[in-house]
């Protein structure tokens, strides 16, 4: 035994060889075995966080985790290196080519199955990790959650039947028939890939020890049953979900996972009731799903906006279509796994409400406390209201998940994308900051505000016109067959086949816009401290020789995020006007356009277009993220931030508007810390928020990680809707995160 309670490799195989057959074989009692040392830092986490991490998973599982997190698998990925002549065949339709490409990939893509993996099947091609379809050289799909929950209970054979039934009926045109036929070929490809994995396992069995042979045989037996058939038990359900997901990925698609606890909960419940599986074994199996999700780490050395953006989102908890709370043992197992393995590659959002079990509130806090920004929460009731208000039927609204990041959608039914825009540049334009002409001089604040709104209206109208013509192909047969509407209509995923076709309208920069409007209103028009042309000239000169004025503004104003009436009311006004304008066109040409508020890290990209702003920022200042306060302006701690944020009516913004809280590790230590985190979450629900990220992090650690990245290989950090390893960000992104991190004593 290497650590107390953990098994070494030989014992692991000995005991786990009978996996699924009822004996407690994974060796580790699933009671809590706390680490002896308080300051043991597994896997390079944040060392200023002190907590006892339970040690329930086996050594093998920890080893596989470490290997995946190290990037070893990612570094071994290759581009498809075989001939695919059909690509240029003029007699083949696009869908036929797609289907043949899928078959070619299934037959030729390298396979990778590590010794000791309970869940198997690897997406090994580099094209996939670059959002491209192997062999075809075109972009794949992402930003949605495919209907795994619909296919899992019926298996591929059920899906096949659906497609065949539809083909047998009337009403499909040639293109529709072509699409559905290619879907059938794609299913054949999926089966071919599965069979190759089985063959590899049979190969591996030849040189395996007796115990290992049993272990591998179990995996083979599982693959022979799923994903072709409905799962008969929890292990099969987990493998089926992974296989479906992995084949999608292999063909380049980046779907979210969705409500994994709702999908898998009944299988686990049955196994537990029958006594064929215990919680410790179930946790082990599910942990291997998490390990698989890390296999693309390290696929590129390029630094940028971080390495974990494959939109592998997990949703936990919440009510189902009938209004019943679904939280079950799988919910808690997921949190156990994140806690122990600290894998950030499945960003996890919990749908919480006043009916969320106390146990779940507590577990969320216990995992949040470890940092990494991995677990966030949605105010479920408010979101459902906003979706119904937007026009979704209640039963579907209740099923909401997100697009793999955080934007809200209905899973298994939606083609989703979004248009990111900046509201702050419109204010700069209103003030005439961009050109050399004298700035317009508005006689009063209301005429200035009206001019700004007019620009916003025009911007959105232009955007809507551009949106009118989108979603005209390609079909993406593999994604299409997982999305309701495509098979029925015979229309592809990008071709308005899905039941819901969404292009969300997203604007960022509102906090800084509203703060700037407040300054203009008070300094120029009320106090008459200076007139508008003077102010605009100062801004055009990027505050040169006016540092005292700039500092005065920054220090004398209480901006959004400080629970201050004036600044919050101003933001409310802008928020209400923005959402009202967007709501004028809820749907047109079959494309829905819900409002959202976001930046997604474009605070950096937008710098080249932004000027100095009246709120005191220079033209090179990296400003507010999503719907959080502007960096450095929130001076009263997280409760004040939440108070400000929750003043908005989020039913007006059905696609979402997140707020991020950065909390010092010292503030949330021990039992008091857990109570504080639970308190923040419960109050967020009580006051009606939308989406809350809490990241427990201190800037000292980030600065150290910037200087000594080798000490922090797996320090995950929340960015703007996803977590990534801090050391994979380039310096500009790192600096942005450091500047955003609050310091609360």
């Amino acid at each position: 035994m290497s650590k107390s309670g953990n098994l070494d490799r030989r014992d692991f195989f000995k005991r786990s060889s009978a996996l699924g057959l009822g004996t407690l074989m994974l060796g580790v009692s699933h009671e809590l075995i706390a680490n002896d040392k308080i300051d043991q830092i597994p896997l390079g986490w944040n060392s200023s966080i002190k907590a006892n991490i339970p040690n329930r998973l086996t050594d093998m599982t920890h080893r596989l985790t470490k290997t995946a997190l190290s990037g070893e698998h990612g570094r071994q990925m290759v581009y498809a290196n075989w001939e695919f002549n059909e690509k240029n065949d003029p007699h083949l339709s696009d869908n036929a080519k797609y289907a043949l490409a899928a078959m070619s990939v299934a037959q030729n893509a390298p396979l990778r199955i590590e010794s000791g993996e309970i869940i198997v099947g690897s997406a090994t091609l580099l094209e996939s990790a670059n959002h491209a379809i192997p062999l075809l050289g075109i972009s794949s799909t992402s930003h949605t959650t495919l209907g795994f929950q619909n296919v899992l209970p019926i298996g591929y054979r059920g899906l096949l039947k659906k497609i065949e039934n539809r083909l047998a009926q009337e009403g499909l045109d040639d293109k529709g028939v072509d699409l559905l036929k290619s879907m059938l070929t794609v299913l054949d490809a999926a089966q071919a890939w599965n069979n190759r994995n089985i063959a590899l396992l049979e190969q591996q069995m030849i040189s395996a020890s007796e115990d290992e042979k049993k272990f591998i045989q179990n995996t083979i037996s599982t693959l022979k049953r799923v994903p072709e058939n409905p799962p008969a038990n929890f292990r099969e359900a987990v493998q089926s979900l992974w296989s479906m997901y992995a084949f999608q990925r292999l063909m380049g698609n980046w779907s979210g996972i969705g409500r994994i606890d709702e999908m898998l909960g009944s299988y686990l419940k049955q196994d537990l009731a029958k006594g064929t599986l215990n919680l410790g074994e179930a946790r082990e199996i599910l942990a291997h799903f998490w390990i698989k999700g890390c296999e693309w780490i390290g696929n590129t050395d390029a630094k940028g906006s971080g390495d974990a953006q494959f939109y592998q989102n997990i949703i936990l908890g919440g009510i189902n279509a009938d209004g019943k709370e679904i939280t079950n043992e799988v919910t808690y197992l997921v949190l156990d796994i994140i806690e122990e393995l600290h894998i950030s590659d499945f960003p996890t959002a919990v749908r919480v409400s006043k009916n969320t079990p106390e146990r779940l509130f507590r577990r969320i806090a216990e995992v949040q406390r470890l940092g990494g920004g991995i677990v966030s929460v949605y105010d479920e009731a408010g979101i459902i209201d906003s979706l119904v208000k937007f026009g979704y039927p209640l039963e579907e609204a209740r099923c909401f998940t997100n697009d793999g990041c955080w934007e809200i959608l209905i899973p298994g039914k939606t083609k989703f994308w979004y248009s990111p825009m900046d509201s702050l540049v419109l204010l700069h334009s209103t003030l005439g900051l961009k050109d050399n002409n004298p700035s317009p001089d508005y006689p009063d604040f209301e005429s200035l505000y009206a001019a700004y709104l007019k620009k916003l209206e025009e911007d959105i109208a232009n955007l809507n016109r551009g949106i009118d013509g989108i979603y005209q192909g390609p079909d993406h047969p593999l994604a299409a067959m997982f999305v309701e509407g495509c098979i029925e209509k015979g229309l592809g995923y990008d071709n308005k086949g899905p039941k819901y076709n969404v292009m969300a309208i997203h604007y960022g920069g509102f906090a800084d816009t509203a703060n700037s409007l407040l300054v203009l209103k008070e300094l120029v028009y009320e106090q008459k401290y200076l007139n508008l042309p003077e102010f605009c000239q100062i801004l055009k000169n990027d505050w040169k020789d006016n540092e005292p004025l700039r500092k005065l503004i920054q220090n004398r104003f209480e901006f959004y995020g400080n629970d201050n009436n004036e600044s919050d009311t101003m933001l409310q006004r802008v928020f209400n006007d923005y959402t009202e304008i967007v709501s004028r066109v809820k749907e047109r040409n079959g494309i829905k356009r819900p409002a959202g508020i976001s930046t997604f890290g474009r605070e950096l990209e937008w710098l080249s277009k932004r000027k100095a702003s009246p709120c005191g920022s220079k033209s090179d200042a990296v400003l507010a993220t999503n719907f959080s306060p502007s960096p450095g302006t929130d001076k009263k701690g997280p409760t004040a931030v939440l108070k400000s944020y929750c003043k908005m009516d989020f039913t007006r913004v059905p696609n979402g508007a997140p707020v991020e809280l950065k909390i010092l590790p010292g503030s949330v230590e021990g039992e008091k810390g857990i109570a504080a985190l639970v308190g923040l979450t419960k109050t967020f629900i009580k006051m009606g928020g939308f989406y809350l990220h809490i990241d427990v992090i201190d800037s000292a650690t980030l600065i150290d990680a910037q200087r000594h990245p080798e000490r922090y290989p797996n320090l995950p950090i929340r960015i703007a809707g996803w977590s990534a390893r801090f050391t994979t960000l380039d310096k500009q992104w790192q600096d942005m995160i450091i500047n955003r991190t609050q310091q609360i004593v």
């Binding site: 005292p548 004025l549 500092k551 997280p638 004040a640 108070k643 503030s667 021990g670 008091k672 109570a675």
Partner: protein, 308 residues
């Protein structure tokens, strides 16, 4: 401070901190009152000791605009504020420099609030107190130095069903203590040293009346937590912890002991007050703290250690 209108009393406050998680259970708002009868060398809020408003000067924030020098009667605001001796000699704390400084490099510490204003601020976070069993903590300095102010705030907080904590050295008159006891849900009671001579040396104040007050409050039935600042060269002795353990056994309403590790966050604040050579102590290690826990656990297993 003075009594204003009936039911609305003024006091001098140097900070109001929302989302406090170290001054009692749950999410709290801590109100820090200015002025303290003690003069502990290790105080990490050195601006809390004087009962008068004081000026902070942070060199690192200063942008060099010299607006302060233009309004300073001596014309040398930055120079004076950087040196405690010059301050004593020349500075009249007229606050013109703070009023004009655009970057808040010069800041007046200590603002007058009425008790109603304090409650308005504190009640903003009631939803958070309710979700976490939090509330208000009054601290300082020594809040009992501004007795009427503190009493009024606690009364009003209690009326609004906000859980009340008073963080105190216990140095006050018995009469006042008994008057305030009905409005305190929990005392956080600091015990700097348990030997009379050492106590006077470290804090200036006598220990005896503090202990008598503690026992009085206990008798009145109010809960308390004993807080022990741990400073290795100063008060970390087996003798001290023996005395504390003995004291603990005599108290019926004590909820536990909390160990506060000395930290040096106050050093930069001392610099902002113009102290060029503030006293710095060594910090206790995690092992030091662990040993103290073990001592208490062995000595009397009924002693609860509140570990935050």
């Amino acid at each position: 401070m003075s009594s204003g209108k009936e039911g609305n009393i003024s006091g001098l406050v140097f900070d109001i901190q929302r989302f406090s998680t170290h001054d009692g259970p749950g999410i709290r708002t801590t109100v820090f009152l200015k002025g303290c009868p003690l003069s502990c060398h290790w105080c990490h809020n050195p601006e809390s000791q004087s009962p008068l408003p004081e000026l902070f000067f942070s060199k690192t924030i200063c942008i060099g605009c010299e607006s302060c020098n233009q309004v300073c009667p001596h014309g040398m605001a930055r120079e004076i504020l950087s040196d405690n001796n010059l301050r004593k000699e020349k500075c009249g704390t007229c606050d013109l420099c703070a009023g004009t400084c655009p970057s808040k490099a010069i800041e007046m510490i200590g603002k007058i609030y009425t008790s109603n204003e304090i409650i308005s601020e504190v009640e903003k976070d009631i939803p958070f107190y309710e979700s976490s069993n939090g509330g208000i903590t009054i601290s300082g300095g020594e809040p009992l130095l501004q007795f009427d102010f503190t009493l009024d705030i606690l009364k009003k907080a209690m009326q609004k069903k906000i859980h009340t904590i008073l963080e105190t050295s216990g140095y006050t008159s018995k009469k006042r203590l008994l008057k305030i006891v009905p409005y305190v849900d929990l005392f956080l009671w600091d015990i700097k040293a348990s030997d009379e001579v050492l106590h006077r040396k470290l804090t200036v104040a006598p220990l005896k009346p503090i202990l008598e007050n503690l026992k009085l409050v206990d008798k009145a039935g109010t809960k308390m937590v004993l807080r022990l600042t741990v400073i290795p060269e100063v008060n970390m002795s087996k003798n001290h912890y023996e005395n504390i353990a003995t004291l603990y056994a005599e108290l019926e309403n004590v909820q536990g002991i909390e160990l506060l590790k000395y930290h040096d966050f106050g050093i930069s604040k001392a610099g902002k007050l113009g102290f060029q050579n503030p006293v710095v102590f060594n910090k206790p290690t995690d092992q030091d703290v662990q040993r103290i826990y073990e001592f208490f656990e062995k000595r009397n297993n009924k002693i609860t250690i509140i570990k935050g």
